[in-house]
Amino acid sequence: MLADFLLIAMNGLVWAMAIFLVASGLTLVFGILHILNFSHGGFVMIGAYLAYSIMNLGSGAVGIVAFLGLALACAVTVGAMGFVIDRVVFKRLKDVDDSYSLIATYAILLLSEGAVKTIWGPNFLSVYPPKGLGGAVFLGDFIMPAYALFVIGAGIAVFLVLDFWLQRTASGKIMKSVALDPWMASLLGININLIFTVAVVAGFALAGLAGGVLAPNQSLSPMMGGTYIIQAFGVIIVGGIGNVRGAFLAAILLGLIDAFGTVYVPSLPGVFFFVAVAVIILFRPQGLLSGVR
């Protein structure tokens, strides 16, 4: 009974951290640029496909250290794509209405799906978990896949690093001040264009990292981008859009609600997430935490 309970809670946490990995970059970019980046899921997908290709250069399964290196390589590559997209697209979206950024990033999502299909084909692919993480951890009756624990760890690590950056470092504090009042920040001599670029590149790099880390989590297909993006939207809005701490809390809350709902009310799979999002926003339209944190 206790093992059951623990299993469901841990499953909720795995989901939560997987979605947080995706949502962190999304909420960062929104916090600074006020662009709701529809294509974010597309770049998570590209990160995952890159991980697949890098792994297949070798013999398939790699060790944990190599896997982390590979995820970082995905982050760097997708971050570089972010730099290009910032130059070509996002820079031009500043003078137009907010909603135009929706259609522009939706277009980029379509382009990323098309690109993935052209390069990797339409077939389903699958990536092995790193060596040493293929099995499970046993604790009496309780079983947890090692890779699932790794996803939880990765989510927490990314949260701690981001939080430390934004709260404790000078560059992070500058980011926050730009998010609050770009005009005032520019008066104070801050190069806000540089800050915008840094935010976009960091956001895309987080997408690439999420893709690399989550590549073994589920099957890969050109539709993968759309699967993650709506859940990530729910998480960042419940957390308070632009707020990294909020997204972290919201992911955990929604993950637990969804996990217990799914197991204990089996006749309604997939409903709990949306009910929870709708109810929470009704009572706290600005989200759990507001402002950039």
Partner: protein, 416 residues
């Protein structure tokens, strides 16, 4: 290597089509305009990986027939449209094809698209033969004369699977299921449960204990909650009718829990080699349902030809059954046209009813009453292996569809 096999293929092609008695030179001079067929299937979107091999099979059949001089001296023209697996796009595509003069439609991956097109066939005076689209409603509640299915349906397939389990595992008497929460999931489960309840008492002499199925959400990224529910379930054997990417995600996530050791045997409804190709060595051992397995039909000329050609062109040594089913749709029309050279819709329907024609799985018959094909059900046991493909076929069974097919009750629900 390639050279030899190509020559061999060409040789077999000539031989195969010549013996299939499709060409009737009598009509050659009477009319020479090509017969127009319209292929509608998912060529983009989530079901693209199923629609593409289907198109390959259909196109190959058309090429073979044309190379052998066509039917009644008339060649076949195949017009192709994408449905994106969406009912409204599929309807637009079908209407467009009909507008181009293709009154013979074929293809379809998803049931919703087939049901949508089925609804317009009568008023547009066209026919549709589907190579997948398993919804029982098409040959029961929503039956209409213009629709035919050349492949098996859940009643035949899942009951054959249940029968095999009762034969091989008489000791495994408790069963559970993981199914997608829509009609396909529910009808596969209903048929499988019905099969267990029929064949376990008959073959194993015990009444099986069957748990409520676990409903899963379509298109998710995380199936661990459903896996947790399945692990809590006391059932030993498990059935799953998730498909494509969802099934792969489920298998991938279930494996480390020791799921496939605890829940065995594991029966997969219809994933062919799709999950095996993706997961390779990581594929857990499972029984998998298929439309066609080339290894089971060695010596069948069509099967050998399809296999060689597919392998040669795609490099894929494990073609999915969608290839043979796409091929079979064209062969069914070809057989009908040989009997009804005018090619008018009414004549084609009459010719298709009760038609027996040659396919990669041997000869099939389209039941006259409800237009359902009687064909063998193929089930193989797969597991990951250290070879080039990354997996191996441990054994396979071919079960005569006539043994497990339902009563024909067109217009009425299945008579369970």
């Amino acid at each position: 290597m390639v050279q030899i096999s190509r020559r061999k293929v060409l040789h077999l092609m000539g031989a195969g089509v010549a013996t299939s008695a499709l060409s009737a030179p009598m009509y050659a001079r009477a009319q020479s305009a090509p017969y127009k067929m319209g292929f509608v299937s998912a060529l983009s979107g989530p079901a693209e990986a199923l629609g593409r091999p289907m198109l390959f099979g259909a196109q190959l059949a058309v090429d073979e027939i044309n190379a052998a001089g066509g039917i009644n001296g008339r060649s076949i023209e195949l017009h192709v449209r994408d449905t994106k697996a969406k009912p409204d796009t599929g309807t637009v595509a079908a209407r467009e094809l009909i507008g181009e003069g293709c009154n013979m439609l074929l293809g379809c991956v998803s049931s919703s698209v087939a049901l949508a097109i089925n609804g317009i066939l009568k008023q547009e005076n066209a026919t549709l033969i589907t190579a997948a689209a398993h919804s029982l409603r098409l040959t029961h509640e929503d039956f209409n004369r213009h629709y035919f299915r050349v492949t098996d349906n859940p009643y035949m397939r899942q009951r054959a699977q249940a029968k095999l389990m009762a034969e091989l595992y008489p000791d495994v008497t408790s069963w559970g299921g993981l199914i997608p929460d829509h009609e396909y999931g529910r009808s596969t489960w209903e048929a499988y449960r019905h099969g267990l309840n029929t064949f376990y008492p008959e073959l194993a002499g015990v009444q099986p204990t069957i748990s409520d199925p676990i409903l899963t959400q379509y298109g998710g990224s995380d199936y661990r909650n459903y896996i947790a529910s399945a692990l809590r379930d006391p059932a030993v054997g498990f059935f799953s009718s998730l498909y494509g990417g969802d099934a792969i995600s489920l298998f991938q996530q279930a494996k480390p829990y020791g799921f496939f050791q605890k829940k065995a045997p594991f029966m997969d409804s219809a994933n062919e080699f799709i999950a095996a190709r993706a997961m390779k060595q990581e594929l857990p051992e499972m029984w998998v349902g298929s439309h066609w397995y080339f290894g089971a039909f060695k010596g069948n000329e069509i099967s050998d030809r399809l296999y060689n050609k597919y392998q040669e062109e795609t490099g894929n040594k494990h073609p999915d059954g969608f290839v043979s089913e796409g091929h079979a749709t064209v062969m069914a029309y070809a057989g009908a046209l040989a009997k009804a050279p005018e090619g008018s819709t009414e004549e084609v329907i009459s010719a298709l009813e009760g038609l027996t024609f040659e396919t990669a799985t041997g000869s099939r018959t389209l039941r006259a009453e409800d237009h359902q094909a009687i064909k063998p059900v193929i089930i193989y046991r797969l597991r990951g292996a250290d070879n080039d493909a990354g997996f191996e076929i441990m054994e396979y069974r071919v079960i005569d569809g006539a043994e497990t097919i339902e009563d024909a009750t067109p217009g009425q629900p299945v008579n369970w």
